[in-house]
């Protein structure tokens, strides 16, 4: 199973058996590739007693803790083939993940993302409002997850406007003009959940009190980056949807889950509020006590597998997020594959122990 063959399929077309077969074939192939080309990966696999010849299913492939990419430089291609290094977002002083991409992996990330997102937006490129400031993509030498997210989604936009200035203030005049110029067209909006709430929603509410309102009822909003800060402000998922509709008519709102360590295969939220795994990737929920696979509905630690990573050994990772699978192949939206929900981050103390000691052994 080559990546091209996976690309040729509709992204949510495979049922459990078909997808299991595809993932096992492709992920075993990637495992062999990384065992051969990344000495650190090989040593870690040997240390946990993994034998690729005995593995029968993609769920048998060991997972690396995502944190490892902060502590080690992991590559499965010669250094001169690396064209891009992506880093995770992190506060100052915090270690960031470094993900090394060659041409092939970088292109496949973009292609997978296009297939996934177009299943929600359609194939036409739309006028696009980026709910962030232009400054975030200016530092080209260092690619933050925030900048990479914006650039990744920019492919879906035709004409683009940044809704915020570099002081994170809403550009009211610019927005007015943009909406006037693109009247009657479907508009794509993209941003990070907390920034949308803080710098867009709250400002729209204030403007409405002054008699200025925007009609975004033809818009589709894609947002990501997590709910942590909003939950601390007591804004729930439903509240977020409801309030945005009231203030600007926006009804089509899709959250996504994704991480820089597996860029490309994002998990989009459907019309029924469920996050979906596409043919390109999967989630496996692990019980924290022994890492066995949890049942449907049972909360555990999220493992993610992706068919994309060739230049770095990131095809099977244990995240630091907690969630539960809600069902397989039977979401009312019609998309096949697993659908799930995220509960939030694990308390860092719980995972720091195992990942750090895990990594230390191999230094």
């Amino acid at each position: 199973m080559t990546f091209e063959e996976i690309m040729s399929l509709s992204p949510y077309s495979l049922n459990k058996e078909e997808k299991g077969k595809l993932l096992t074939e492709r992920l075993m192939e990637l495992t062999r590739h990384h065992l051969e080309n990344c000495p650190e990966y090989r040593r870690m696999s040997e240390a946990v007693g993994f034998d690729v010849e005995k593995a029968e299913d993609y769920r048998d492939i060991p997972f690396l803790p995502v944190r490892l990419f902060k502590e080690m430089d992991l590559k499965s291609v010669p250094g001169e083939e690396i064209v891009k290094t992506m880093t995770s977002s992190g506060t100052t002083g915090q270690a960031v993940s470094k993900i090394y991409l060659d041409r092939e992996t970088s292109a496949n990330q973009q292609k997978a993302m296009v297939k996934i997102v177009q299943d929600f937006t359609g194939s036409a490129r739309m006028p696009m409002i980026i709910i962030d400031c232009p400054g975030v993509v200016k530092n080209r030498a260092m690619f933050s997850a925030r900048g990479a997210g914006i650039l990744g989604f920019s492919m879906f936009g035709a004409k683009k406007i940044y809704a915020l200035d570099d002081d994170m203030r809403l550009d009211v005049e610019g927005l007015k003009e943009f909406l006037e110029n693109n009247k009657g067209q479907r508009i794509l909006l993209f941003g990070f959940t907390f920034m949308i709430w803080q710098h867009f929603y709250k400002e729209l509410v204030r403007l409405k009190d002054e008699g200025i309102s925007f009609d975004l009822s033809d818009g589709i909003l894609i947002h990501g980056g997590g709910w942590k800060k909003l939950i601390s402000e007591a804004v729930s998922h439903d509240e977020f949807h409801k309030r945005l509709e009231v203030v600007c008519g926006l009804r089509s709102i899709h959250d996504y889950y994704g991480m820089v360590e597996q860029t490309g295969c994002i998990y989009m939220e459907c019309e029924h509020g469920h996050l979906h795994a596409s043919n390109f990737s999967d989630v496996i929920i692990r019980r924290p006590i022994d890492f066995s696979e949890a049942e449907i509905g049972e909360t555990g630690i999220i493992q993610v597998v992706s068919t994309i990573p060739e230049s770095y050994p990131g095809h099977s990772l244990l995240t630091e997020d907690e969630g539960a699978v809600l069902g397989v192949d039977d979401c009312p939206c019609g998309r096949k594959g697993k659908y799930f929900k995220i509960n939030g981050r694990l308390k860092s103390a719980e995972i720091r122990g195992c990942s750090d000691t895990y990594a230390d052994k191999f230094k």
């Binding site: 041409r103 292609k111 490129r125 993509v137």
Partner: protein
């Protein structure tokens, strides 16, 4: 100005390079043609030729030569011999 001249000029202006650098030039081959530079290039080409690329073509646009091939396709119809 011919279509080829127009195409070349967008490359040399976007990436601040000379005409002699164009042949064999690849995406990620020079620092200026990174993902930010790529979107600038795409926007300039769309304006100059009054077209709108399909998203997959934005991604497949991986070299100076590949770009010509994409623009020559039926849906865009840019004739580089004209």
């Amino acid at each position: 100005m011919s279509n080829l001249e127009k195409y070349d000029q967008i490359f040399t202006e976007t990436f601040e390079i000379g005409k002699a650098d164009l042949e064999g030039l690849k995406y990620q081959g020079i620092p200026a043609w990174d993902s930010v530079g790529h979107m600038t290039l795409i926007a300039s080409l769309e304006n100059a030729f009054d077209i709108m690329f399909d998203t997959m073509d934005v991604i497949d646009f991986s070299s100076y030569e590949k770009g010509k091939e994409i623009l020559s396709k039926g849906e865009y119809g840019v004739d580089f011999n004209a």
